[in-house]
Amino acid sequence: MKGTEVSKKREDRIGQAPKNFLGLSSRGEEVMAYWTFVLPGFLIYLFVMAFPTFFAAFLSLTNYRGGALFGPKSVIWGNIAPERKMKIIGFDYYAQMFHDKYFWLALKNNMWIVFISVFGQIPLGFIMAYLIFRGMIKGKDFFQTVIYLPCVISTVVIGRLWGAFTAPNGALPDLIRLFKPGYVAGNSTHPMIPVLFVILWMYTGTYLIIFLANLQKIDTSVIEAAKIDGATEMQALRYIILPALSGVIVTSAILAISGSLKSFDLIYVMTSGGPAKQTYVLSIFMYDSAFKGAPNYPLANAVSMVMCIISFTMIGITKAVEKKFGGRE
């Protein structure tokens, strides 16, 4: 039977089908159901994600100085400060950003966070999940809970606690003085180290749970069969478990990269980007540009655009790596 005939017969059937209380045919119902489910999500995405992104890109090319974009308020303020009138000026603020030493410092710190997330949290989360999954440690429920615990505590609380703990007048110097009397806390020459440590401590539990959930999906009989055939633990890991988890590893890496680039709350609470902007990250640089001292909204939007571009690039690289090396189950 030719395709057109099948389609015609189906249409006939649909045409004869009883209509529902809204007077719609089955096909109409299908279409309506489709849009009912898709439209809210699509609209939310359009207005909450896509529009702000494109609007931020637009603002980064203007001299916008705050206040209403359009309408009478602009006219009133325009009389007082005519320079408030918005106009497109091109890539001036991108140039300003690339000439700012703190932008590069923030970018470097962000890369450190990406590094510690991808090469710290994920391997550590995997190792711990693997140890628990293979029953290599006792009290797995206890370890699982303790390692995951930081994930359920508010980031602000964690930031305040660690900030107070490591402060010169905090508990850590007091503890050190128990072993080294007369110790006076100084300023670290690497102020990002405490921040990186807390990030590692805080988020490793998330990856532990992700890996553990996916490890539990692997059929243990495959591992046992390999063992009977003489495979070592490392060989089972290399040839059975890691390939099976390659997709999860990539997903985790994407989560880690995007999460690292938008790091804000913990660092803002712990250090506010200080001292002397030494713990600046791009999101704090963006926030301070917009809301601290003399607001510079186009610069803040330019920073956010760079964050988007870096994020997409790194996720693209991760996907490419996965395509080349992953998924050999």
């Binding site: 209380f21 809204l22 100085r65 705050g66 206040g67 209403a68 308020k73 009133i76 303020w77 007082i80 400060a81 408030r84 900030g163 107070a164 490591t166 402060a167 010169p168 007048n169 007369g182 006076v184 806390a185 100084g186 300023n187 250090t271 506010s272 200080g274 001292p275 002397a276 902007k277 030494q278 926030y287 917009a290 809301f291 601290k292 001292g293 003399a294 607001p295 909204y297």
Partner: protein
Amino acid sequence: MKKLAMVVLSLVLLCSMVFAQAAAEANSGKTTIRVLNYIDMSEPNSANEIAQIWDKFSAEHPEIEVIREDLFNEPFHQKVEAYAAQGNLPDVMYAWPSGRSETLHKDGYLYNLKSLLERDGLDKVYSATSMADQAGKVGYVGELPNGLTATSMMFVNTKVLRENGLEMPKTYADLVAMVPVLNAKGIEVVSMDCKDAWVMQSCLFSLITGRFGGADWADRVFAGETDFADEWFVKSLTAVDNLYKDGVINRNTLSIGYGSGRGDFANGKSAFYIDGDWACASFQTDVTTGQALFAPEAQKTDIELINFPAFDGEVIHESNSAVVGTGWAIAADIDADKLEAAWTLVKFLESEYAQTWRLTTGASFPSLTTIDVAKVCEEYNLEPLVAKRSDWYNNIQVATPVIDGVLPAAVFEVINTVLQEIGLGSTTVEKGVADVNAAWHAYIGK
């Protein structure tokens, strides 16, 4: 069809309820005022403000409904900037005379209160300094100030000095001489809470620039007679560099959050503590708990307030950095029918009642000339620290500019960062001078 009708009917019902509520509010005859309030979380008695000030206002003015938002420190300033950016400023807001509220003043977001003050004959009731032009605009009072604020108060733990056989310092060299004596016992000489970058600039460096640059350094800078590459500024930054190098201030103060060092000072972990005059309140008794960092008896013997000792080479002596105090402002684009209600609120917040209450808590000294501080101290049996504070103001010989009160944010933000970099030892005085001067010339070049 029945179900659809039900859904539509429910929606109509919901909408009518929402709009009926709004209409009821509109017909209640109340004027609703949105307020952004600054509440100092580091002061033990600040929370009482809600009962003593805001609840009292609501009781006295049932026709005005106040929707209030309370914030403190950086989050307050950042929220103001966010509101300004949205074009959604509250009707009444706490504001600084310039610097920290630069956007509000410069871009015309605030109502000029001068005409209202003159209309109600209040311009003569507040002190002349608090009625001075603000933000460099002639005839402009953007916010009605609490009073005058001295931004560099040096608190002395006299108990620590006594126990270590030390005298009250007269010069910077005296402070340096205390370093080995106190550090040997694990005590810091001067403590500050410099984690927030504004603290060093506002609470000490402004005083230092006044000492080396004179009371008129800002006027000369704006007149183009000097800039930040000149000797006075180099000497000022060098003085800060020396404070760290000499060990008078520990570099680790850059990691101490604002307000959190006061307890250490009271517990004798440092001999001196530097903050603005507003910090005085945090050493007084919390009336809700009866607890105090310095109990009233201890305030008589264990704590003194002084001016920072003399620097070698300073051009003026016994000066302090001072600025017209913070206060209350009204949004420039406030609805005409709300203006009188907002002005009623601002007048109440700077009334004799409110200013006397703030004096009793130590939050601020009054800008109203009708308040007799000595009489209030006696009548309310105020703690000894209040009287000491009053004497301290009398000992200030010259008032010099506060950096974030006179310079634009584009410049004072760079100064803040340079001061922290010097504190870290990650930059030199020469480099810091160059950075600040470059920021200044970039600003005036615009």
